[in-house]
């Protein structure tokens, strides 16, 4: 009961009423799969179950009945013909849809996890499973009011449950709807292993990271090429005595400035983010209006510790890095006309215990206060239907080669060894 009370308090702090009603509808839809228990708040049960998954397989009984769609063709049990994420619904839950290759090149020059990129290369196609957390996120994006400040969505869950890929699915939806995408694939890469840490040219107590900033600007250019000529700067930016960008120049020039001149690239990133923030929802006419999607993976890096050292060998604070400082400003909800999608990550994080996965553990006090209020979306391991779908997909792609893995007993062994965790299952099936 105590746990229920705490979770209810957390729910109250969320300022979106649609959240609890949508969970209720999801819960009602899943009534035939989950056991009903008479507690105070049925929505709490849903959240609670996801937070406490037992590692032993005792609670799981074999659910033989497939509640998938009644299509006669066996091949389409795990694949869906609906390739547009805008039309994905619970009907396609557990089924795979393909990313068009052109979209992968444009939208994800740096966004996909490395093992998934290997999988795309091997299978000659990029297929992602439609899962409830991503569907939830997309439904919120469809119904949000974009004249108000942006909502912050935080995907959280245990390691390897599919937070990054759910984020990529939601981003694909935003891309197909014509939004401007600002995607930081992993914020942890900006707070560690930096070869060149220069003192900032514009402000005395800050540090620049030219390589990371220019790399990100190149990828930003690839994703949003068609927007770069339409958006104009609103202020004059002075980089050095001889270089400056005038007011009213297209954004493409600003980005080229950052890519070509590595020294001021971190400040260019800050300028680009500022311009996008100011202009996202401002113009309501047809020509210049665009919605902004800010997607940050590993957002807990912004408020954690860094492993970078200054010249006097003291540890650098994340606040002192230009890139992190500008990103933090982006995370605030003092602009309008977009959404902020984030995912937590323990895997790349510094100085956090391996068992931590909840938002308040990973974000810390400072991060939680900064991000609050946010909409938490929990991502968990596969359930029976999703595991079945994944297994059939691997069989179809000729990936499960060992004869024992294709038998019933082998399947049970796979369930036992992986606990239906997506990433562990993937690594297991890789050598079987």
């Amino acid at each position: 009961m105590k746990h229920n009370v705490i979770v209810i308090n957390q729910l109250i702090t969320v300022n979106n009423l649609l959240f609890s009603t949508h969970l209720l509808t999801l819960f009602l839809l899943n009534m035939n799969l989950h056991k009903l228990s008479s507690r105070l708040c049925p929505t709490v049960t849903q959240k609670f179950r996801h937070l406490h998954i037992q590692s032993s397989g005792q609670q799981l009984e074999a659910v033989a009945v497939e509640t998938a769609s009644a299509e006669p063709n066996p091949l389409s049990v795990f694949r869906t013909s609906e390739q547009d994420p805008a039309y994905h619904s619970e009907r396609q839950s557990g089924q795979y849809y393909t990313f068009p290759p052109a979209h992968i090149q444009k939208l994800f020059p740096h966004g996909l996890p490395p093992r998934f990129q290997l999988q795309i290369k091997t299978f000659n196609e990029g297929c992602v499973m439609v899962r409830p957390p991503a569907l939830e996120l997309i439904s919120y994006l469809k119904r949000a009011d974009y004249s108000k400040p942006p909502l912050r969505y935080v995907l959280y869950g245990d390691t390897g449950t599919g937070k990054t890929l759910s984020l990529c699915h939601a981003l694909h939806y935003c891309y197909t709807q014509g939004w401007l995408i600002v995607h930081i694939p992993d914020a942890h890469l900006w707070v560690k292993n930096c070869k060149e840490l220069l003192p900032s040219s514009s402000r005395p107590s800050r540090f620049d990271q030219p390589i990371q900033a220019s790399q990100w600007l190149k990828n930003f250019k690839i994703t949003n090429e068609h927007f770069l000529s339409k958006i104009k700067t609103t202020q004059r930016y002075v980089w050095t005595k001889r270089e400056s960008t005038e007011m009213g120049q297209p954004l493409g020039e600003l980005v080229d400035q950052g890519v070509n001149r590595m020294k001021s690239s971190s400040d260019v990133v800050g300028a680009v983010l500022r311009e996008l923030r100011l202009q996202a929802g401002g113009i309501t006419e047809g020509e210049g209006a665009f919605k902004l999607a800010v997607a940050v993976d590993g957002v807990n890096a912004l408020w954690g510790k860094t492993s970078l050292k200054k010249e006097d060998r003291t540890l650098c604070e994340p606040e002192e890095l230009t890139l992190i400082h500008n990103l933090r400003k982006m995370m605030k909800n003092n602009w309008s006309g977009g959404a902020i999608l984030t995912a937590l990550s323990q895997t790349g994080s510094l100085f956090t215990p391996q068992s931590a996965y909840l938002p308040n553990e990973l974000l810390g006090e400072e991060g939680f206060d900064h991000m609050e209020p946010f909409v938490p979306v929990s991502v968990s391991n596969y359930d029976e239907k999703e595991f079945e779908s994944c297994y059939l997909y691997y069989l179809d792609r000729n990936w499960l080669q060992h004869p024992h893995s294709r038998s019933e007993e082998g399947k049970k062994e796979l369930i036992f060894l992986s606990n239906k965790n997506p990433s562990i299952l993937e690594r297991l099936c890789a050598f079987l």
Partner: protein
Amino acid sequence: MAASVRYLLKPWTPSLYLVRWSRYNPYYLDPDPSKDARVLESELSPEQKELQELKTVRPIKAALSSDTSSSFNDPLISKFINMMMQDGNKILARGIMTQTLESIKRKQVEKYHKSPAAKKEEIECNPYTIFHQGLENCKPIIGLASVQKGGKSYQVPVPLTDNRRRFLAMKWMITECRDNKHRRTHMYEKLSQELLAAFANEGNVVKRKHDLHKMAEANRAYAHYRWW
């Protein structure tokens, strides 16, 4: 009766001291951890029935901690992992083996998906069959032994036991990958390339086997120096 059995179960030393020997009394039987060991009574031949009888009576050696009862357990692969292991770091050796199998499978499955439908059936995607077949292609049939006669030692062609052939194939594979490849490639990468080449009867290890055969063929005049 009890006294004679107790004598057989005592700590045992061989009559002729060998370099590597098991401290188990030969009375002990080898363990068979696989679940498929249970076969129906009617399908067994008389020798196998006798073996089953023995198993109920005789003591059995302890199973190794690297053996599992699941059907994914492969004795040849376990042997290869043990041979690759250095300083007892089995975790690293096993990791390299799984990465090798994964990389072989990735290359073959990629080729499979990119090839036209007619050629798909010729491509072997199972890394385990590639490993087994590749190692089989590296096993020498005949070996050379050094025999001293009249003050001079001659290389005499000699038949090899199965264990020796398997050992030589694995040893050549591992030393080839460790020594003769570019220093900055990972071991699993080198192993996967060499195994795929051996599967197609190409590559340096198969070449080494052919060289051994040629030497044995060239020295066949000395074959009668062998007295065993």
